[in-house]
Symmetry: C2
Subunit: 225 residues, 2 copies
């Protein structure tokens, strides 16, 4: 469902080149559950942005469902992003002047039907924020903002969820609840790729891919879940 | 050095009241190293903002070095914030259009002397970002932004460091390096209060204070470090 072929990302910084990703061959089958780990600055978010059609590689190809993404129009990309991919950003990226409920309703605006607020409500309840629906991001704790970002990624029932450090601000019990949620979605057939720096979180996945200096360092299956 | 007496913080939200903190009696001696832990939404950041003179309690008193903070003028508070307290925000709060070096130099602007860029450079090198000094936040990874925020908190040699989830975006080795750094500073006599949701990080402190629903749930010493 996801396949990158020698994907590289190079930032031109003044006269220096920053090689964020180098020759990355990364494949994810439908229904897989992959955890991406690695030190700060090793290229994890850069890869996630390319997978989420939010950025283009400098070199190499990215095939989503067999289609070469670089061939798609901006309009097609926007539609894929809104309907097929649920993205949880490392920095949440919530609209600051908008309530949690409206933030979560956003992806639904791309669909043909009127956005169904009930779906947004349920998504928020699922992440334990039923009593914070009308709070704006500034009126929410860090972990609550993170959970709103997760609810937003789920609301349109995407086929793929790309989550960049989804439990970075959550204590153990709440992290467990979120991972529980991800496992249920994965059991329902949703493909999940998540970035984490915590081993206990990575252990919930079926596969762990480790990054180092922009390259894939290792790719191993996880024992019994 | 830090003493709160029945500190409470209540947000009026429409017709509901959100009790972020309730009757918190929290004391920190000079040279102490305290880890604050607890579920998302339990009041940790709210307390940190009050301790950092960034917010005022709804009820109760906060004494910093024996002085009742609510009696201080905005000017005195600003001066304390810039010179005595190093604050690492949960959301980093870096100036987006400013390089890492200039972001870290900021606290030095409050001093009488010309801001010494060398100090900012050293602080950045200390957190492993010597090669990212001229990058703006948008050109840095999440963990790198976090480390810039840490460097900024250290640069003015504060007596107290308040760090809200300083390793939330860092993988094990880098988290260890940051905790090493904090321990060295603590050995030098700097008082440290940090919020974390990771037990391994909390274990580096001398004391762990756990929050639940806005109140202190437990306050225990940590065994040998
Ligand atoms: N401006 C506000 N208006 C209403 N409620 C608020 C406001 N700011 C914070 N809150 C609420 O206060 C509570 C405590 O927030 P706080 O940020 O202190 O939690 P926290 O322990 O730091 O959580 P986290 O671990 O998720 O960062 C939360 O339930 C939050 O929704
Ligand atoms: N616009 C940019 N210009 C220059 N360098 C950049 C830019 N964006 C990212 N980088 C660099 O690319 C590298 C990879 O960044 P990336 O965000 O992918 O790391 P990461 O693995 O997600 O890190 P973290 O775990 O800290 O979030 C970093 O060293 C970063 O400094
Ligand atoms: Mg990242
Ligand atoms: Mg917080």
């Amino acid at each position: 469902i996801i396949r990158t072929v020698k994907v590289s990302k190079c930032y031109l910084f003044g006269i220096t080149e920053v090689h964020a990703l180098v020759d990355v061959d990364f494949t994810v089958k439908k229904g897989d559950f992959v955890a991406i780990m690695g030190p700060s600055g090793s290229g994890k978010s850069t890869l996630m942005h390319i997978l989420g059609c939010l950025d283009r590689p400098s070199k190499g190809e990215y095939y989503l469902n067999g289609i070469l993404v670089s061939r798609l129009s901006d309009h097609e990309l926007a539609s894929i992003r809104a309907t097929k991919i649920g993205f949880v950003f490392q920095a949440f990226n919530l609209l600051p002047r908008t309530t949690a409920l409206d933030n979560v309703t956003l992806p639904l605006l791309y669909g043909r039907q009127r956005p169904n607020k009930k779906l947004a409500e349920e998504a928020l309840k699922r992440v334990g924020l039923g009593d914070r629906m009308y709070h704006k991001p500034g009126e929410l704790s860090g972990g609550q903002q993170q959970r709103v970002a997760i609810a937003r990624a789920l609301v349109a029932n995407p086929a793929i969820i790309l989550a960049d450090e989804p439990t970075g601000n959550l204590a153990t019990r709440q992290s467990e609840e979120i991972m529980q949620l991800f496992q249920e979605l994965n059991d329902d057939g949703i493909t999940i790729v998540l970035v984490t720096h915590e081993a206990e979180i990575g252990a919930h996945a079926k596969r762990i891919v480790r990054f180092l200096d922009g390259r894939i360092f290792s790719d191993t299956s996880v024992e019994q879940r």
